[in-house]
Symmetry: C2
Subunit: 335 residues, 2 copies
């Protein structure tokens, strides 16, 4: 089933409105979900809509949050998101970080009492569009075993970094520190597909390609102790530092309805011309040098992070969005 962007937007806004979100919050949340579909990241898109609504019904997402923004300094702000849906907290956070960076050169925003906010790249893009450099950190429910442990504790904890490129296409690295995205395993589990070998263990610690067994077991980090250390860093930055949950206490939004997630986020935004006046020229030259390297067989073009996502966006933005039967059922149920 395919639905036009415009109609789909109306449907989802209405659903969020029915569940008590304000017009503005419904709009922010809908845009984030639809963007995930447009860039072909369905694991962060409409497949999560019912989960968000269920959590609102169970009163563990607050549909009418009082989001408090505390000014720590001209550069630093602290947000208590009051258990809002993550999109709304992150939207307020990135806008504040952009404002602070524009004023002082650097903006730092910590957020607590938030929830899963979808794709980090979505927020990074907002900063890059204003010609700023950006880091976004967030933690997530347990998925990865710390190096040496046989039980999962770290989330897939993305590291997201963005910079303007002097072209319309933003450089956005948005990478989990696991060998595979958890959302992809979830989608595979729903559709009965296998996952690649070597990316996950079952709950007994044995390698598995069965998506359901992988979800019950642990995901493996990139580069062993290196990836494990990066996941730990993200847990500290987004959880320990901000006042959010950390150390394996972020609840799985699909499976654990015993309370709010209290996810933390950290945004750091920098002016790109802090030190050099010709940043745009320099980054253009940087990308040019890398793109012209000799390529391995079968590779048509060396892509910078975010480039293929941008291509997918351009390709899909004016097309109808393909809706799986599961999502179609959810939309009907929730409308």
């Amino acid at each position: 089933m395919k639905i036009s962007n415009k109609i789909l937007k109306k449907i989802i806004i209405n659903i969020f409105r029915r569940f008590g979100l304000s017009k503005s919050h419904a709009n922010i949340s809908t845009n984030a979900l639809i963007n995930a579909e447009i860039v072909d990241a369905p694991s962060h898109g409409l497949s999560r809509l019912k989960m968000y609504c269920d959590r609102i019904s169970k009163k563990i997402i607050n549909p009418k949050p009082k989001i408090k923004i505390k000014k720590i300094s001209q550069s630093i702000s602290y947000i208590d998101a009051n258990n809002s849906i993550g999109f709304v907290a992150a939207d307020a956070g990135i806008k504040q970080a952009i404002k602070n960076a524009k004023k002082t050169g650097i903006g730092l925003v910590g957020i607590k009492n938030s929830g899963h906010y979808g794709l980090s790249s979505y927020y990074a893009e907002q900063a890059v569009k204003k010609n700023l450099i950006v880091f976004c950190f967030t933690n997530a429910p347990p998925a990865i075993a710390p190096y040496g442990a046989k039980k999962k504790l770290f989330g897939t904890n993305p590291i997201c970094f963005g910079t303007p490129t002097s072209s319309k296409i933003p450089f956005i690295l948005d990478t989990s520190v696991s060998l595979i995205n958890r959302g992809k395993i979830r989608v595979a589990a729903r559709s009965g597909k296998k996952i690649p070998t070597g990316v996950a263990l079952d709950k007994f610690g044995k390698p598995t390609t069965d998506a359901k067994k992988a979800l019950a077991g642990v995901q493996l980090p990139i580069g062993g102790f290196r990836g494990s250390g990066l996941a730990w860093m993200v847990d500290i930055l987004s959880g320990v530092l901000t006042g959010g949950n950390h150390g394996g206490k972020v609840k799985d939004p699909f499976d654990d309805f015993s309370g709010p997630q209290n996810i933390g986020h950290l945004f750091i935004v920098l002016k790109s011309n802090l030190f050099v006046s010709n940043y745009n020229q320099r980054i253009k030259e940087n990308i040019r040098r890398i793109k012209k390297l000799p390529r391995i067989k079968g590779v048509k073009e060396i892509l910078f992070p975010g480039q293929s996502k941008f291509k997918r966006y351009k390709k899909n933005v004016n097309k109808k969005i393909k809706i799986s039967s599961n999502v179609a059922r959810d939309l009907k149920l929730l409308s």
Copy 2:
């Protein structure tokens, strides 16, 4: 051959003084080199001394640099290191970043016209000892092929992150984004040892365990495009942003004497109690939760990043330092 810490320090300070460094700069550089030996990272220690001296002789490291520190704001400083030895530039940089962070909550320092500064962890530790959170980024000569390319361009570009832990042992993640440190390959090549399979390709793009062939070929990043993206991020932060060399233009300090390296560094330092008053308690709890996880067979303790380095430091700090015959020859030659 073994030499006491104290005598070795005198020898090296004298060497640096002979090559024109001020007393203070000789001291800073010597301490950094000896620290690398104490923490068992000889690839960043005395095996590099002759290289530094050679570069001073060839006038591509400036032994008497005029280091200019420009104040961009209360939080942000920009350093032109005037082709100093990297240790001196990094020392000035981390001290300034700490000062800015103490004053305003966040300190950001960009450095250009520097050189290889040894271990990032050495600078991160300085901030952590002042109860601050820290990022250190630096780029390095070509070693890793960007994802899709068959020629090396990125350095092993470490990501370094540190935080206080409420104990004496700092949490210091200092990880290259390659599957193996280049210094380790270099040491293996010097001693005729093999490197592990799967971490490097020879110059024809074939997997190799021959250290010399690996040095002539490319190293592989952790997690394919993920590690490649992280290396690219570090190149942008430490090179493009700061005015340092980037995009494969950082010269190999051992092999290329055609000019200064102009390496860039970026330090970001944060107060740990910006958002929560009980950071130390929270990080202690975070580490406690992770350490008590069930362990995989053969693992005695789950270690946080930096913990084993600290153990090595404690074990070695009052012992004599073991000197290889190559290094002994260098010391004799340079004294």
